[in-house]
Amino acid sequence: MLSSVIGSIGTAINIIATILCMRCPGMTLGKMPLLVWLNLVMAGLVILAVSPLSAAQIMLLIDRYLGGHFFDTQAGGSAVIWMHFFWIFGHPEVYVLVLPAFAFASEIIPVFSRKAIFGYPVMVLATIAIGFIGMSVWAHHMFTVGMSAGANTFFVLSTMAIAVPTGIKIFNWVATMWGGKLRFEAPMLFCVAFLFQFLVAGLTGVTLAVAPLDWQLGNSYYVVAHFHYVIVGGILFTIFAAFYYWFPKAIGKRYNEALARLHFWLFFIGFHLTFDFMHVPGLLGMPRRIYTYEPGRGWDIWNLLVTVGVVFQAAGILIFAGNLIWSYLRGKAAGNDPWDAWTLEWSTSSPPPVYNYAAIPVVRSRRPLWDLKHPEDPDWRYE
């Protein structure tokens, strides 16, 4: 784990240095694609939040192998302090995972709505706000530990506060789609599902942010349902979208659209079967991490339905894997710009050459390819 943490920090340093030091001429920070902005903030969070994890792991190693007493209450140490250190990493970690998901949505939704992203500056500010506030909410994982009322209240408020910039982003994505010419190929299907699912996930999160509710629901299957809704329904769906969107660019071949849509529907059904219904046993009191349970508590039918959903999800994933392999071997050539998109990568060949760009491009707006394709109406007139 320490090994992979070192890898993560190295990658984050790389990402920040690349974005700050290697942009092509004309690409000021205000003209970068949103994906780049979101990855910049993500890398910053990795640097500030993953390092505490390695510190905590070193402390655990010292306790376990050198007889240390960091978490040894008999010697004056504190087990709660592990929780603090872990969650100081753990909560920003989920923002590390979700910001790139937002990045994919922010690139794909405009292209499939044939409209530029609504409110670029606000999206950037909201991202930075999420980065900052996300570092101050960690103890909402510890409401049941017995912190003071003041501490609990602070974390309740900060957790609710983070819903604001996140909600702004959802609003902006929807506003991007509004009035656009929507195309529902596989990447867009996954992104639309993401919008709806992430919203629900955020709402269950806000219910958990209310400390007294968390005292009842904490460590139950309601929490499990909530975070899987975010991670699977939010993040994994956009990752599938990103796969389908950039597969033609990276591999140079088109994937099979029919199989992709089958993947989407199977996985969508399975996801909702599993994780919608998972909220119910949680509300009925089923705790996490138990290997079995008594019959007659009202949990049985829900657990059954949840398990059935797994079958659909597994089928979806198999089709996804099959589609990728089949398309890699037999897919039709994709061309440089199959989606008629606007960011720089679509100007290279598919796949791009090793050196990416024979001549470093010069850009003048947020959508350089739009400017190229529409010289009579370039973006830089309006930005």
Partner: protein, 169 residues
């Protein structure tokens, strides 16, 4: 003459497998490293999914006995750790590696060799953790993988309560 000085499309179509493997293992090209991260993540997605499936099958009805409590504990610990650290993070880094230089008009990342080093460190971490399946009482007892939950709360993970040596893997 090193194969890396040509664009990929200019290389001869059939190169020996060992040469191709060597290119992939020693690459510092952000696109290839991105693909490596993503393939690594997809493999662990399947593994983490199997761990989830085992848990769900155990919970499909009350008083089920598909797996023992010890194995179940190892399953939920490994499922969480795997999905966060060996699926989601590599996917995130993989896509970032692939896309960021292309989208800013750059030829590679700022530190290509650090990039390669970071990938292999992450891969090593995955290997270390999964190596723990081979310890303890063998594979059907899920080895000596960690069993204290992915957030590894003390004091359960302290030496007194968790003799198994894998909690900090």
């Amino acid at each position: 003459m090193s194969a890396n000085t040509f664009a990929i499309s200019e290389l001869p179509a059939s190169r020996p497998f060992t040469l191709r493997l060597h290119e992939w293992v020693t690459t510092v090209d952000h696109k290839r490293l991105g693909v490596l991260y993503i393939l690594f993540a997809l493999v662990f997605l399947i593994v983490g999914g199997i761990e989830a499936t085992i848990m769900r099958l155990q919970l499909v009805r009350p008083h089920n006995d598909l797996v023992s409590p010890e194995v179940f504990n190892r399953m939920f610990t490994m499922h969480g750790t795997t999905m966060i650290f060996f699926v989601a993070m590599p996917l995130v880094f993989g896509f970032a590696n692939y896309l960021v230089p292309l989208m800013i008009g750059a030829r590679d990342m700022a530190f290509p060799r650090l990039n390669a080093f970071s990938f292999w460190m992450s891969a090593l971490g995955g290997l270390f953790l999964y190596f723990s399946f081979l310890g303890g009482n063998g594979l059907y007892g899920a080895g000596s993988t960690p069993d204290a939950g992915w957030f590894a709360y003390a004091p359960l993970t302290a030496k007194t309560f968790s003799v198994v040596a894998s909690s900090e893997y």
